[in-house]
Symmetry: none
């Protein structure tokens, strides 16, 4: 189970440390791709395989399906963690996530998310995320 929030920084070549606590669950090789709300998603190979299976069933003739598949597959790349615990974030993904130096990595159960630190702070600001609203949704889900 991928959980927690970790602050780290990209090196000059765009590499990032995978927090030690996530390393085992995410695996030595994993996949990152464009996510929602301006972050990047990272999946373990197992989780990604599930996802790919679903994408394969979508019809080529449907424009909406093409868009969806293009978004995730063209944005995806396999990463490998090096001996020092780092992995490279491809330049197009760094650009998509507006990442320069300080980033936040969070565990979200089945995946990790990589955020530009500023975006993460903005996303978590009171205007955007309120504990009350979250509590309300919890009730809806019967938690």
């Amino acid at each position: 189970m991928l959980i927690g929030e970790y602050e780290h920084s990209l090196d000059a070549k765009g590499r990032l440390i995978m927090p030690a606590k996530l390393r085992e669950d995410i695996g030595e090789k994993f996949i990152i791709t464009k996510g929602l709300d301006g972050c990047l998603f990272g999946f373990s190979q197992n989780e990604w395989a599930n996802f790919e299976e679903k994408l394969k069933t979508l019809p080529l003739t449907n424009k909406n399906a093409r868009d969806f598949v293009r978004f995730f597959l063209s944005g995806a790349i396999e990463c490998e963690i090096d001996k020092q615990g780092r992995f490279l974030i491809a330049s197009n993904l760094r650009e998509y996530g507006a990442m320069e130096k300080e980033v936040v990595i969070i565990g979200v159960g089945t995946r990790i998310e990589i955020w530009n630190k500023e975006s993460w702070k903005a996303y978590n600001s009171d205007e955007n995320i309120s504990a009350d609203a979250i509590a309300e949704n919890m009730t809806m889900l019967g938690i």
Copy 2:
């Protein structure tokens, strides 16, 4: 599995580097043809065989189906990657894709797509691709 996004440029003779990460999966010889949404499609020999099979099942009696088959088969050409990792894009296909110099190659699972860089940027603009639509599709697929 063909994934990722790569920016490269055509040389003066219309040749293009096949990104190192796609080279193994696409094979030394592969097929490119006219694609949808203004790009070119590229298939490995295996995937092309699959695709041809599907085209064969379409009813010749249906004008739409005839058009569809003609579109893909008439545009198709076999390409070979040279020692330096490049392949030639036939001039009619370059013309179809409005390609001059800067192009983007993406992996989309079973095929690659070759886009004029400008068209790709336009395709990915907010007006065209909405996060809401993607999120909705994700929910539908149970991701």
